[in-house]
Symmetry: C2
C-alpha cells in the first residue's frame, strides 16, 4: 500500500458516556492504568465538543494506545488491573466502538 | 488533566465501506491528497479485520490526521482537492464517525 510504514498495534476506542458520568475520573483511572504498563508504548485521548451529531454520531471521546506487538496488547488486556478497570469503564459508557489494527504510518515517513 | 501534553488537532475518521468498494483505491487517493498538503502533519490508517462485531460495530477502517492548529484543519477541509476527494469518499461509505479534537498525549511524556 504505497509508502506506508507498517508498525505498531493501535488500540482505538471511541465512546459516548452515560449522562452524569464524571469523565475526568474515568480518564484519570485510564492514565493511572496505562502508567503501570511499560508495554503500553503510547497513550493519547481527546474530546470532541464541537462536532455536529451528523459526524460524531453522538460519540464524544477517543482513546488510543499503541503496543509493539499483538502479544503485548493481549497481555495488557488480560491483566487483572485492566480487567478491573474495564468493569468501571464499561459501566460508564452508553456506546462504544473498539478497533485494533496494525497502524500504517504514511506521514511523517519513517 | 494530569500530566497530559495538550497538542495538535487530531482528525479521526472511522468507517464501514459499502460492499464492492475497492478500499485500496480509496486509501491511495487519501495518501495522494495528504501528500499534497504540508499542513497535514501526520497521517496514519489501519484496518481491523479480526475484531468481533460487538466491539467494532461493523466499522473496519480508521484514518487519522494531525494538524498544528484548527485553522490548518479548516484550510485543508475547504481546499478544492479535499472537497473533490470527499465526494468520492462519501460515495464509498456505508457509515462513518468523525471526531476532531485537541489531542492530549499522556505517553510518551513530552
Amino acid at each position: 500500500m504505497g509508502a506506508g510504514a507498517m508498525g505498531e498495534i493501535k488500540h482505538l476506542v471511541i465512546v459516548k458516556f452515560k449522562e452524569g458520568v464524571v469523565v475526568e475520573d474515568i480518564v484519570k483511572g485510564m492514565e493511572k492504568l496505562v502508567s503501570e504498563f511499560d508495554l503500553v508504548k503510547s497513550f493519547e485521548w481527546g474530546q470532541d465538543s464541537e462536532g455536529p451529531e451528523m459526524l460524531t454520531q453522538g460519540f464524544t471521546h477517543s482513546f488510543s494506545m499503541t503496543f509493539d506487538k499483538k502479544e503485548d496488547y493481549a497481555e495488557f488486556q488480560s491483566h487483572p488491573n485492566h480487567v478491573e478497570y474495564s468493569a468501571t469503564f464499561s459501566a460508564a459508557i452508553e456506546k462504544i466502538v473498539v478497533l485494533c489494527f496494525p497502524s500504517v504510518r504514511v506521514k511523517p515517513s519513517a
